[in-house]
Amino acid sequence: MANSDKKTVLVVDDEADVRNFLQAALVEAGFNVILAEDGNQALNEVEKSKPDLISLDLVMPKKSGARFYRELNKNKAWSKIPVIIVTGHARDDLGKSDLKELTMSGPGIYLEKPVKPNNYIAAIKKLLGMDTTAEEKETAEMVELQSDLKNIIDDADPETLKKLKELLKKK
């Protein structure tokens, strides 16, 4: 079934709806998709199917996304797999510290739930260095910029935030 030309994405999320949604979008864009419900399953799948990219939720029962990621990084080969974090906890206490650790090391990007299928696919293609349409390229760049900006804004001091706001208002 697996087409050797097709890239394989491992989707890790404890919520069935999210898994279904991301799977549908990925299949539609021509990816092979493997699913995992938690960090433990995900590690098994990484070992078994060597995915090209991992789409990861952070807060999950049993093994959380952060713990999974830490274990992933212990393995030299696996640590090169790009990771896209899809989380609803990007800005609360539960996810923030995890997220900081994750975006600091390894390749990856994070998207905040709810995600749009277009943004999601474009970001993944960009991470995998795949050929993209001009439109996809633009979307991916925008998504990446937004993600970077969010990181910067989260860490910025109030003074910088004020300046930034002024700057954005002028446009």
Binding site: E15, D17, F21, A24, M60, K62, L94, K113, P114, V115
Partner: protein, 490 residues
């Protein structure tokens, strides 16, 4: 005969020797500066205390030693004693051997060869009161400046003394009735702590609300202690009060800040729940449109199911949210706690059994009826039991047992729900009651424990959790019976 007279001589001699010794000891040990002075102001004798205090005196005039003067003092008590032959009390300001000004008091006694005869010498016994004076002013400063209100109240409830702090806030009040001053009342206060102290001679503590001289409200914690008369009756009462107005205000501010903090967390939690639902709706919408495009009925159904499920989640979120935000007093009824727990067991037994989990109830001794809000406690137990069942299903090693234990000892009614399921991470335990978040993915709204805690607190109780990751969890809801009764009566 001769022998006898020599015996008497010896005894007389011994006595004289003894009296010399005694005189010498007395002269040296008496806690005064003692000096013997003749009519020409010469100091002829002085004890070691004197020497230590005023320095060398041999061959010097008294005024030179006491005051470092070159001629006799304008008012000389010794002159008076020389002329009248009577002892006088005196006080004077002199200069000690370090050159410091010193205030001393004492007595001057005449020394005569025979009773009523001419006064040849005077003996001056003095003592520095610098120390006493310092203590007195220290005491005064302490009394006035100590950061609390101090009054002394007589049996007629009139204020005999008041310190500066008190006068600053309550006005100049000496001689006035304490209840007028403290509370602007015309009659004695009910539960007057001073009255209690007058009655039983014991210390009493209470907190009171008074009115200051500018009409400002003053919260104070007062303690009344007795000043006893000789035979144990209370002559005066000292009232020492701490102004706790600022503390009270601070307490209120803390409560308010906590409340606002909780609102903030609630809003953040709400946003998160909604984000999750939006993700589901987004997904459903996408899959339906994909199905329509491909004319794939199965896909359309799948997407439609997702949409329905997430609309359903919105409904239950709103319901939970409303029940959480309801700020109501619990509707207390005298009910049997054991029966309530039994109802929950009946309700969940089958669901638990389907997953291979045994739901049990244990009663620790006899459980008396208690005033509880049946619906509220029902909600709490439901939340805890369904959490416990979920924890059993979630663990890496699956648990098989959930126990509701009811106990009633030490004035506390306790419901404990324990499981041997997945347990709770330390990190998550810290947040479990504060943020309403869920680790159950889409299955929970994250409001269950928050609502539970709220209901428990409305009953005057508290909820605690003991758990270690992988070792199950135990939630305890404790209700002090005293508080339950107080709530029930009000």
């Amino acid at each position: 005969m001769a022998r006898n007279s020599s015996k008497i001589e010896k005894r007389t001699h011994d006595r004289r020797r003894l009296s010399d010794l005694v005189f010498h000891e007395l002269f040296q040990q008496v806690p005064f500066n003692v000096a013997i002075i003749d009519r020409d102001y010469n100091i002829i004798m002085a004890n070691d205390n004197f020497t230590e205090y005023f320095g060398d005196w041999k061959g010097k005039k008294c005024y030179a030693v006491y005051k470092k003067l070159s001629k006799p003092c304008a008012e000389c008590p010794s002159e008076e004693v020389f002329s009248t032959g009577k002892a006088v009390a005196a006080d004077a300001v002199g200069i000690d051997q370090q050159g410091r000004k010193t205030h001393y008091i004492g007595n001057v006694f005449p020394i005569t060869e025979e009773k009523g005869g001419r006064v040849e010498y005077v003996m001056e016994m003095t003592r520095s009161i610098i120390e006493t004076g310092r203590l007195q002013s220290e005491y005064q400063i302490l009394f006035d400046r100590v950061p609390c209100y101090i009054t002394v109240i007589g049996e007629d409830y009139r204020i005999v003394r008041a310190n500066e702090a008190f006068r600053e806030n309550f006005g100049d009040v000496l001689g006035q009735l304490c209840y007028t001053v403290y509370k602007r009342r015309k009659t004695k206060c009910p539960n007057c702590p001073a009255a209690k102290t007058f009655r039983d001679g014991k210390i009493h503590n209470s907190t009171q609300l008074g009115t200051g001289k500018r009409g400002q409200e003053i919260n104070y914690a007062v303690s009344t202690s007795p000043l006893m008369r000789g035979r144990g009756s209370v002559a005066h009462v000292i009232e020492i009060s701490n102004d706790i107005t600022a503390l009270r205000k601070l307490e209120q501010e803390v409560i308010e800040a906590e409340r606002l903090g909780a609102v903030g967390q609630t809003v953040a939690g709400l946003a998160h729940s909604i984000k999750n639902i939006l993700m589901g709706l987004e997904g459903g919408k996408y899959i339906v449109s994909l199905g329509l495009k491909k004319n794939d009925k199965e896909m359309i159904n799948k997407g439609w199911d997702m949409l329905e499920r997430n609309f359903e989640k919105t409904t239950s979120l709103v319901k939970d949210f409303l029940s959480f935000s309801k700020g109501r007093l619990p509707d207390l009824k005298m009910i049997s706690p054991a029966k309530l727990a039994e109802e929950i067991v009946e309700l969940y037994k089958d669901i638990a059994a389907q997953s291979g989990i045994e739901l049990k109830m244990e009663l620790d001794g006899k459980i008396k009826n208690a005033p509880l809000d049946p619906d509220g406690i029902h909600t709490c137990l439901t939340n805890l039991v369904s959490n416990a069942i979920d924890a059993c299903l979630m663990g890496e090693q699956r648990g098989t047992e959930v126990v509701i234990k009811v106990s009633d000892a030490g004035g506390k009614l306790v419901f404990a729900v324990s499981d041997n399921g997945s347990g709770i991470d330390y990190e998550i335990k810290k947040k479990i009651f504060t943020t309403f978040f869920t680790t159950k993915g889409g299955a929970g709204t994250g409001l269950g424990l928050l609502t539970t805690r709220k209901i428990v607190q409305e009953h005057g109780g508290k909820i605690m959790v003991e758990s270690e990751k992988g070792k199950g969890a135990r939630f305890r809801m404790e209700f002090p019976r005293k508080r339950l009764m107080a709530l029930y009566k009000s």
